[in-house]
């Protein structure tokens, strides 16, 4: 199934209604927080505020659900991780979803996958970090996987020799990293001359996620980020920035060549007024993200703390369906009080 074409809204609504009922029955806190049983339109479907996953264990129990492990967010802003309970059914759907979306951007061809992380990050029982989950989501597109960092917190531990060996045997490579790691370890790194020479003319698809917050703080501009990564590479090389949340695992929103983020058939995006929660069709607001993949916990409809706006008309890239522009996080200010907050 192609991810971007005209959607059957009635079918999507029916699936979302069924999922909502499933979570109401199987997840006690969700059942308590969601008033009502009838949700006659997509815009009336209830959502869970994204902060709930940092504050309360949301897990849906059912005969058909086998919970496997927890997915943790990076906790860069608040210091508290979101915890998403991953189940077998959803994980399979999510994996297929990510691959279908990515194939639409990087193509069907399998190639070596280089991950800007350390192999040690994999070794954690019962839980998986958002970083590793995102990287391993690309696994079905790969012929082999290599980790390029010895220590994720130290970009100077970049394994240039590993990269060199892969470059010796392949012309097309897929690279994944968190945005700031990709910049520190590769974009702004002093690349050894022999690696530079080996990179020349190679086609590299850089896929990155995690947001621009850290790079904005370092005044790294989008254009200089792309220019640094693509220097001397082959014409088919590209840098793909995608937006995704652990609370929407399985759905990613790559930025297309025309600056849009396209909504796949099995997902939806609603922009809401932060003060009234009413849908906004032609202006900026708070993003609500939906998908039909989440069976193990009620993250099928999430009100995020990100701002965005829906884009009207057809996109120049040719993809069909709903699309939006991501505008960044809701601005925050320190709450004034005394000491006990």
């Amino acid at each position: 199934m192609k991810p971007y074409s005209q959607r059957n809204d009635a079918r999507f609504l029916a699936e979302m209604q069924a999922l909502t009922r499933h979570h109401q029955q199987g997840c006690l806190p969700y059942g308590a927080m969601i008033a009502g049983r009838e949700f006659p339109s997509i815009e009336e479907l209830p959502f869970v505020h994204v902060g709930m996953f940092k504050n309360i264990a949301l897990k849906t129990e059912s005969d058909h659900i086998t919970h496997q492990r927890n997915l943790l967010s990076s906790a860069t802003s608040s210091g508290v991780s979101s915890v998403i309970s991953l189940d077998k059914t959803s994980s399979e759907l999510q994996s297929k979803s990510v691959i279908r979306i990515l194939k639409d951007f990087v193509g069907e061809e399998r190639r070596p996958l280089l991950i800007l992380d350390s192999a040690a990050s994999l070794r954690s029982r019962g839980k998986v970090s958002a970083r590793i989950a995102a990287a391993l989501g690309l696994q079905p597109l790969s012929t082999e996987i290599h980790f390029l960092l010895k220590d994720i917190h130290d970009p100077s531990t970049m394994q240039w020799e590993t990269l060199l060996k892969v470059l010796e045997n392949h012309d097309d490579i897929l690279v994944y990293g968190f945005t700031w790691v990709l910049w520190l370890a590769w974009g702004q790194a002093k690349i050894p001359n022999n690696v530079k020479a080996a990179l020349k003319g190679k086609n590299i698809q850089f896929v990155h996620s995690g947001g621009w917050k850290k790079l904005e703080a370092s005044k790294v501009h989008f254009d200089s980020f792309h220019a640094a990564l693509l220097e001397n590479l082959g014409n088919a090389s590209q840098v793909i920035d995608y937006y995704g949340l652990v609370e929407q695992v399985g759905i990613i929103y790559p930025l297309c060549s025309h600056g849009s983020r396209h909504v796949p058939l099995w997902a939806d995006v609603i922009v809401r007024d932060p003060w009234t929660l009413k849908p906004i069709h032609d202006g900026p607001g708070q993003l609500q993200l939906m998908n039909v993949l989440a069976h193990g916990a009620p993250y099928h409809s999430v009100l995020t703390e990100d701002m965005g706006r829906l884009l009207q008309g057809e996109c120049g890239c040719g993809r069909k369906g709903k699309r939006f522009e991501l505008l960044g996080r809701i601005p925050k200010a320190e709450t004034r009080g005394c000491s006990n907050v």
């Binding site: 008033a35 505020h49 504050n55 932060p274 320190e334 009080g337 000491s339």
Partner: protein
């Protein structure tokens, strides 16, 4: 007139006549603060909210500032008096303010200024510095005199990080150390090397509550509760963490919740910031998930919830949980770090409740509208009186 006679102010409380020796003319200092109020009415400098500025205007009146002396030392006397104790300032006051501190910084600054003590303030390294805003504004708007002199020569504001070596020197310099902050933050400040006779005041994590009687909840009272709560939400030590209707039923609580929800948008016209509106949605869902009955106020301005008095309070900055409880149940539900109970009740019931609270950890029992009022006694500590020490206890005669 001798220098001492100009600067010694005499007060009488019961049989004690206290002469307070000050390094400046108290009346001129009080008048200087008070005179600023006319200009304050015309202009709110950036950084202050309208509520904060209005409270400062009231706090800086001569009645209020003279009241600080009189509530501490007794009625002010004029004429020749037999002084039974003479106090002088300890001087060298160090104040630590955390990043999110509200008006407490400027209020402490004003209270210290009227003693003439030197004040060095460690302000939050990333916060809006209200002390600096007020002191600059006052310097621009006050004439030559004791206030200008104090601001220029005795006040030092230090925006430095927690690990800065100057903090150790500040601690060693101070005769009085005052800190607002978390328990651990205050402990760390108290543990810094100090003079052997230094006095330490830690104003750490505290909580407050509203107790009211159903029959006292008029429309005016409801609007007043909304105004008081909206100033800091639940972020301040004086902010109500919840409201208890004494002897109230669940139906009483639901009725109050409905009236609060109705009056809130009429009382607080301004929208909350976008992230607060979003946080309120989260608070609503968290409360419901924990089985509290909860509602969002129009335009996501706040959350009101109703639940049992003995249940864990639901979280949220602008979330007011309501419960009904007997006096014993409400007392049993008080946290160890309770500071203020703001009340709405008849005089007779106030007396009964005040007696009931004797021996508890409650530090203040005040009408709801006074919950955020700051004064020379805080968290049960007479910190302002401690800015003075006894010079000698022999009889002195002086004309003032």
């Amino acid at each position: 007139m001798s220098e001492q006679s100009v600067n010694t102010v005499v007060f009488q409380s019961a049989g004690t006549v206290t002469g307070v020796k000050l390094p400046f003319d108290l009346d001129a200092m009080v008048q200087a603060w008070s005179s600023l109020r006319t200009a304050m009415i015309r202009e709110i400098p950036d950084g202050f909210t309208r509520d904060e500025w209005a409270y400062l205007i009231s706090f800086m009146s001569s009645e209020s500032l003279n009241g600080v002396y009189e509530s501490t030392f007794g009625k002010r006397l004029v004429g020749e008096q037999a002084i039974t104790e003479t106090l002088t300032i300890r001087d060298n006051v160090a104040l630590w303010l955390p990043n999110n501190v509200s008006l407490l910084g400027p209020l402490v600054m004003i209270l210290v200024s009227i003693t003439g003590s030197a004040l060095h303030v460690k302000i939050g390294s990333r916060s809006e510095n209200l002390c600096e805003v007020l002191s600059q504004w006052a310097l621009t708007n006050t004439a030559e005199g004791p206030l200008k002199s104090w601001l220029e020569n005795k006040l030092v504001l230090m925006r430095i990080g927690r690990g800065d070596p100057r903090l150790k020197r500040l601690s060693q310099w101070a005769n009085i150390k005052m800190a607002f902050g978390s328990d651990s933050g205050c402990r760390a400040i108290a543990d810094l090397p100090s003079r052997p006779d230094a006095i330490n005041f830690s104003f750490s994590d505290k909580q407050s509550r509203i107790w009211c009687l159903k029959e006292e909840l008029t429309d005016d009272v409801i609007q007043m509760i909304i105004k008081v709560f909206s100033i800091y939400g639940r972020a301040g030590c004086t902010s109500p963490q919840c409201l208890t209707i004494l002897d109230g039923t669940e139906a009483d609580c639901l009725e109050l919740a409905e009236r609060l929800t109705e009056y809130w948008p009429k009382t607080i016209r301004k929208d909350v910031e976008m992230h607060i509106a979003s946080d309120n949605v989260l608070s609503l869902q968290l409360a419901r998930a924990k089985q509290w009955n909860a509602w969002l106020v129009a335009r996501n301005k706040a959350v009101i919830s109703v639940g049992p008095a003995d249940a864990e309070l639901p979280s949220g900055h602008l979330h007011l949980p309501i419960s009904g409880a007997s006096l014993d149940e409400a007392t049993a539900a008080l946290p160890d770090n309770i500071q203020t109970i703001g009340f709405v009740m008849s005089e007779a019931r106030q007396k009964e409740v005040a007696e009931h609270l004797e021996g508890t950890q409650v530090k203040r029992f005040v009408p709801v509208e006074q919950m955020h009022h700051f004064g020379p006694v805080w968290d049960g500590m007479e910190f302002w009186k401690a800015l003075f020490c006894e010079e000698s206890s022999h009889d002195q005669k002086t004309r003032v």
